[in-house]
């Protein structure tokens, strides 16, 4: 919320994407889980926002809500706003939102093998967009698909368009997925853990490719990950999520230098480091909260080494500590000015 203050000033150009106070519930017969509890972040054209957090923190659900591909039921957006270039998406018709998908915003997924349809060729699945969104002929669309594969540096693209996803290697599949998402030249790309399922060497190649394409096209990118190592190289800004909220937001450099939330601290300490070989890997104790029953007060308090009575009672707000630096912790000021 606070992160979006500047844009509400009026005369300024609207942000590429703005998520504000987004609430999503997952309703099942047994219980209602509060998956998102007031998420807010924004992305501008040409920048990369990394969204960090453990599994279940709501990173992907936020992204799916933005795309409008949240499975409903069980997921329901109950409150909040999603604005694309100032247009309120939650009030838009389903047809309008479908128009935006692919054309204006696109998404790539973690596991390209299951995200691609196994019974159609890679070329068919890319060409589909040219055929049904651009009205191209089958043949022209296939040629365009080959061009797209070429763009993501798949060798021998003209032949490979005719192959099926299972005939591609993991890295090539993710490249094909990227080619597919960029087919209609979107200006916002959401990458949902694009490298998690890949080998380390391939991970770097894919990240480089994504970063290069983003720069060339001036796209805004949301990079969802739980891998801080991946983030460090490409992110301009970072939003850390916990239990369906953004708990810290900052430019990448300052966050790495000095986290302003104990949860971010924990995440950073859990990165293996060569210079600490042999020592036990620090990890955040405990488990992420049950979203059907989020603890009162700060949701992180049961796992926090700083927790006090105040933390158990009062939910800390996301406040701006320094220009562009936000944290939702009662001890944020202490953390940021320590050492």
């Amino acid at each position: 919320m606070s992160a979006t203050d500047e844009s509400t000033g009026g005369s300024t150009k609207p942000r590429l994407l703005e998520v504000e106070d987004l609430h999503v519930e997952f309703r099942t017969r047994e219980a209602t889980a509060n998956v998102l509890n007031g998420v807010g972040y924004h992305v501008d054209a040409g920048e990369t926002l990394a969204v960090l957090g453990e599994s279940g923190s709501g990173k992907s659900v936020t992204a799916q809500s933005v795309m409008g591909i949240l499975d409903t039921p069980p997921g329901f957006v109950t409150k909040g706003a999603i604005r694309y270039r100032g247009e309120e998406l939650l009030a838009a018709t389903e047809d309008r939102r479908r128009e935006l998908r692919g054309e204006n915003m696109a998404m790539i997924f973690q596991d390209a093998l299951s995200a691609l349809n196994p019974v159609y060729t890679v070329g068919f699945q890319i060409a589909e967009q040219f055929r049904f969104r651009r009205g191209m002929s089958r043949k022209d669309a296939m040629a365009k698909a080959a061009e797209m594969l070429d763009m993501v540096k798949i060798p021998n693209a003209k032949q490979r368009v005719k192959e099926f996803p299972h005939q591609f290697s993991g890295g090539m599949r993710q490249r094909a997925m990227i080619a597919m998402s960029l087919a209609l030249d979107p200006d916002l790309l959401i990458a949902d853990e694009p490298t998690t399922a890949l080998d380390v060497t391939v991970q770097a190649q894919i990240m480089d490719l994504l970063d290069e394409l983003r720069r060339e096209r001036g796209m805004g990118m949301i990079l969802i990950t739980h891998d801080l190592g991946v983030v460090a190289e490409v992110a301009d800004r970072i939003a850390v999520m916990y239990a369906g909220r953004v708990v810290e937001e900052s430019d990448a450099e300052s966050l790495y230098e000095r986290p302003a939330h104990p949860y971010t601290e924990g995440l950073m300490e859990s990165i293996p480091r060569l210079d600490q070989k042999g020592e036990q890997l620090a990890s955040i104790k405990g488990l992420p909260p049950n979203l059907a029953n989020i603890p009162e007060g700060c949701p992180f308090h049961p796992r926090c080494h700083r927790a006090t009575d105040e933390c158990r009672r009062k939910v800390p707000e996301l406040l701006e500590l320094r220009p562009g630096r936000y944290s939702a912790c009662h001890f944020a000021e202490e953390l940021i000015s320590s050492e």
Partner: protein, 308 residues
């Protein structure tokens, strides 16, 4: 793929020999004298029995009989019945009827079954879903000889909407009701199979991808969801068609349809070994070829399956 098909065709040879031998032995192993009661109320004359015994090599040991029979079969000679009719003529008369009946049953079960499956899967857990589930459960629970007789009595005898049994050379129109009865069980299975497969694929990652691409819902369902969901269904339909082509003894019996099932049934009753073996051999081959066709179709539908 070519080599695979060739290998499969070669596999037909041992299966062919095995099944024909088993059937041949079983038919002649049936207790009782095949010539008892062949000549009205009197016993058959000695000369007749001797002639028939010679003609069908009944004096020889079973393996020799079988080899002699097989030799005839390879020359395209299906042999004669005891009353002197060519078995091949009987098959020629009966098979078109069975094919018509099978085709009606197949179209019915495929069209209605798949449509019902898709409809329930898309509508979710509502009234339609419950209705289809209950109706299909009913069809699965009631055996064909019950539903067949009930339909025959209610619509054929009491209401008189149709003839209780078909004519000697039945038209498509006459075979519609028997075809529906014959296809009803498989129709229920197909509806349930389609429904489950659609439900599974509805939440698949590639469906989410298709949505993320901004494709119209109709295309997402009919192209991305359906193709994947139909793979198990097509397999079932193919195997079922193979079974249907083998004739339907019960359905054909109820409506007095002169199809292949009836032919086999009557031949078994009359201990017509030549007829039974000839017909069943043909059915086995048809069934095996249908299965091969299903396997080829399966590979065409799912590119991940390759037989090389």
């Amino acid at each position: 793929m070519g080599r695979y098909i060739l290998r499969r065709l070669l596999q037909l040879i041992p299966v062919f020999i095995g099944t024909t031998f088993i059937i041949y032995s079983l038919v002649w192993a049936l207790p009782g004298d095949p010539f008892a009661g062949k000549c009205g109320s009197r016993a058959c004359p000695e000369a007749y029995v001797q002639m028939m015994t010679e003609k069908y090599n009944l004096d020889e040991p079973l393996p020799v009989q079988y080899v002699l029979y097989l030799g005839q079969l390879f020359q395209g000679n299906f042999g004669e019945t005891f009353s002197g009719l060519e078995v091949s003529t009987l098959i020629q008369n009966a098979y078109p009827v069975t094919i018509k009946l099978a085709a009606i049953a197949l179209v019915f079960e495929a069209v209605i079954g798949i449509a019902a499956g898709i409809l329930t899967a898309l509508r979710g857990n509502g009234f339609v879903d419950n209705l289809v589930l209950a109706a299909t459960l009913f069809l699965i629970a009631v055996p064909v000889f019950v539903s067949g007789f009930v339909v025959q009595i209610v619509f054929g005898v009491q209401l008189g909407w149709m003839n209780p049994s078909v004519s000697t050379d039945p038209t498509i129109g006459e075979l519609v009701v028997p075809g529906l009865i014959l296809g009803s069980l498989s129709m229920a299975y197909i509806a349930r199979l389609t429904r489950t497969a659609m439900f599974e694929n509805k939440r698949a990652d590639y469906i989410r991808t298709a949505n993320a691409k901004g494709l119209k819902p109709r295309r997402v369902v009919s192209v991305h969801m359906l193709r994947n969901s139909l793979i198990p269904v097509i397999t079932f339909i193919g195997t079922d068609f193979g079974a249907l082509m083998g004739g339907a003894i019960v359905t054909e019996g109820i409506f007095n349809i002169p199809g292949i099932g009836n032919l086999v049934f009557q031949a078994i009753g009359g201990q017509e070994g030549t007829t039974v073996t000839g017909v069943v051999t043909l059915l086995v081959i048809v069934y095996l070829l249908m299965n091969l066709l299903v396997d080829i179709l399966y590979a065409a539908l799912d590119p991940r399956i390759r037989y090389d």
